[in-house]
Every structure is written in C-alpha cells, then in structure tokens.
C-alpha cells in the first residue's frame, strides 16, 4: 500500500454537547474498507493498517494516518473561509444604507414618526440586521478572542445571519470541532507517533493531525482522540463560545506481510524472458 490512510470523524456537535458524550454521537469512516477496516459509519471504527517488511525484517513501507473532523450542523467546510467575514461585512454595509435612509426620512418627512420611541424602534430594527457578534473563549477563562478577523456572527446552517440569539433560535451553525490530542494504548506502546501539523489547506483551518505507524508489531490497538467542541453561552452582555472537551475511542488493526519478488515469489533471479523468438524478430530486421 502506498496510499495515505484517512480517518474521518463526523460529529453531531449539538447532541454530543447536550449528552456530554462524544463516543455516542460520532460517525467514523476511513478509506481502508477495501483493505479490511470494519465499522465504517458507526462509532466503533477498526482501521486496517497493512504494513510490509523485507526478508531481513526491516519495515518496507511507511503507513501514514490522517485525521479530519466534519461537524454535523455547521456551515459546510467546503465554503470559502472568507464566507464568514464577507457575510458580516455585507450586513454592516446594509445597516449603513438603512441608517442613511432613516436620516433622510427624519429630515424630509419627519412627521411619519410620532415620537422619539418610534425612531428608537426603527434604529433597533436596523441594529438587529447586523447580526449577533460572538467571541470564543480560549484556554484561559478570562481570555476572549474574536473568531476570525471581524467576529463570527451567529448564523444558521444555511449561512443566513440570525437577528436574535436566544432559547427559541433555530439550528445555529457551530464552530467546527478540532482534535487537540491523540493518546491511548497505540501511543503508549509506540505503535503510532501522532502530531499536529500545519497545513496550507484552509479546509482544516490550517492544522491537521497525522501519524506514522510502526507496523512491525501486528495486533489491535486502541487510541483516544481528544476533541474540542464549542457551546454558545450568553455571559455578561456577550455571546461566547465556550470550549467543551470530549473524548472518543477508535482502533487500529495492524498487520504485516513479507515483500517478495514478483517474478519468482521468493528472491531475485534471472528475468523470465522466453528464449525462442519468431522469425521476424531476429537481429538485422528490427534494428
């Protein structure tokens, strides 16, 4: 096998946060079903990693694992990353237009507003159209940063901005979950060497987890993925995405087989070229 192995976790973020259990609300897949993986689409994935070794026992191929997360209930990861900022910028420009309109109305036909309260109501209406800004809570509880460059505004899963946040709000798009650590039996026994790598691919928000595998010790090994999800809370006078750290487990089924010469099924020998040739292929006629 010279293909890199992909493991994808599809997470029902809302259900996982509400129940406090990621294992129950994760659907796992990999691209190794053809090579013997089991449990695709379920929460019990056993990924087959088929290694190979030379006659002298040295590992002959490097197996690479890659993990990606997909959130159920988010704006799809395939939309451009500037979608969020663009959405926010457009709503702000629209609000400025509305304010100008309001100014003109007051100036030229001020009598349409009965009193100051009516003007305030109109201003409130405009303000709501700019969406609800949120912040993301970092590792330090007191530290809050904006998501992206201009604040991630609350939107539904179709990417429409929501005017109001609250208990009766429809399905909101959630921040995509990220893996923060991979631990467990496979790591402790030095079967996999996982690490987070930077990536130019914004699909993964610039980071992804990858691991190389020691296939010299066949067997079934468990590993645990630590995943950071976010829940939206109204704290003080702000909407804040608060991290919720959950775990889920999966397995690797490692096997190894010897590399053999394709011609002989064993060691190297002479190439099996037929001795007898047809008449027109004798030298002189072809060259």
């Amino acid at each position: 096998m010279n293909q890199q192995l992909s493991i994808i976790l599809m997470i029902d973020v809302k259900a996982a946060i509400n129940s406090g259990s990621l294992q129950e609300y994760v659907y796992m897949f990999d691209n190794m079903k053809i090579d013997g993986s089991e449990g695709e689409g379920s929460n019990e994935l056993v990924s087959a990693v088929n290694g190979s070794h030379w006659m002298n026992g040295i590992q002959a191929s490097e197996q690479i694992l890659n993990w990606s997360l997909i959130s159920l209930g988010s704006v799809p990861r395939t939309v451009p990353r500037f979608f969020y900022t663009e959405k926010s910028r457009r709503s702000n420009l629209k609000a400025i237009d509305k304010l100008n309109e309001l100014k003109a109305k007051i100036e030229y036909e001020g009598d349409i507003f009965e009193n100051a309260d009516a003007v305030l109501a109109e201003l409130d209406h405009i303000a709501k159209q700019t969406g609800v800004k949120t912040k993301v809570q970092g590792k330090r509880r007191d530290l809050q940063r904006e998501f992206g460059t201009s604040g991630f505004e609350i939107m539904d899963v179709t990417g429409e901005l929501l005017n109001e946040a609250g208990d009766n709000m429809p399905e909101i798009s959630r921040i995509n979950p990220t893996i923060t650590e991979i631990t467990g039996e496979a790591v402790d026994k030095k079967i996999i060497y996982p690490a987070a790598y930077t990536s130019p691919d914004l699909f993964t928000n610039g980071w992804y987890w990858s691991a190389s595998v020691d296939t010299s010790r066949p067997g079934k090994y468990a590993y645990t993925m630590h995943v950071k999800l976010h829940k939206l809370y109204f704290i003080g006078d702000e909407w804040i995405w608060t991290p919720v750290n959950l775990k889920c487990e999966a397995y690797l089924k490692i096997s190894t087989a010897p590399r053999v010469n394709g011609f002989t099924g064993a060691g190297v020998a002479e190439l099996p070229i037929p001795i007898f040739r047809t008449q027109e292929q004798v030298p002189g006629e072809i060259s």
Binding site: N50, S52, N261, G262, E270
Partner: protein, 153 residues
C-alpha cells in the same frame, strides 16, 4: 558503469481510471547508461547488458492514489500481442496475491540476442475492483549491438 538499472513508471491513476485506458496517462523512464530510447513515453526501450539487475518501480502522479505493478510478463512473439488498451481483470484461481507486496526486479539473462527488442507486458493495479487492472505491451528491453556505438550516438 552501474550494475543496476531502475525503470520508473509514473501513472496518472485518476486519469487512467476515468478514461479506462493507460495511453497518455503512463510515462516510463530509466537510468541506463546506454541511452535508452523513448524515455518519458509508454514505449520505453531500456538498453541493458547481460547480468545487470533491472528494478521496476511505479508511482502515482497523485501521491494519494494507490498503484502497484500487478505483473510483468515477457512476450514470445506476435501471437501474444494484444491491444494495449484492452481491459483485463482475470481472476486467477488459488492464493490471492497482494500486488502491493511484490518487488519487481531480476537479472538480464545472458542468452538475449543483441539488437533484438524483448517486449514485455506491464500490468498495473490501481486500487481494487472490476476495472482496476490495466496493461500495456509497448515497453521493451534491448541489448545494444554495439555498446560503444550506441554511446557515441
């Protein structure tokens, strides 16, 4: 002179599987010191000498695509030649051999007639399934008639 020749094949796996043929999706090259012919095409003629070790390696153009040499078989004559883009997936009875575990190398026999092209069929396995195996009959091995002459050219 190096005693070993590497024949490296690069396949556009996605292109080949989409069009179900290897033409223009398949490039071969080697590092023979005798200046082999048709480098970078699917009809590479590798110039070699008896006793040299030849080693075949295959890579996918896209690193994420799985590809392996399923079989290399030398052709006897005209009757064994088949259309190069013919689709074949003959399930061989008996033990299933995983092509990803095979290493394709061997020594050039001493009985090859200098100046003769010994063509071989290269069967390529791309992932698994009904249409995963394709072959090409155009590459060959050749012991040059005059080593010095071919080097001068």
């Amino acid at each position: 002179m190096s005693s070993k020749i590497n024949i490296v094949t690069v396949v556009d796996v996605i292109g080949a599987l989409s069009e179900r043929r290897l033409e223009n999706k398949f490039w071969m090259m080697d590092n023979s010191v005798f200046e082999s012919q048709n480098q970078g095409t699917h009809s590479l003629c590798t110039y070699c000498q008896p006793g040299q070790l030849i080693n075949w390696v295959i890579y996918g153009l896209d690193v994420q695509t799985p590809v392996a040499i399923k079989k290399i078989s030398f052709l006897c004559g005209d009757e064994d030649q088949v259309e190069t883009d013919e689709l074949k997936n003959v399930e061989e009875p008996g033990i299933e051999i995983n092509p990803y575990l095979n290493v394709w190398s061997g020594f050039v026999p001493s009985y090859l007639i200098p100046g003769t092209e010994y063509r071989y069929r290269l069967e390529v396995q791309m992932s698994k399934g009904v249409n995963s195996v394709m072959s090409i009959d155009t590459p060959s091995l050749k012991v040059p008639q005059n080593l010095l002459k071919s080097k001068d050219n």
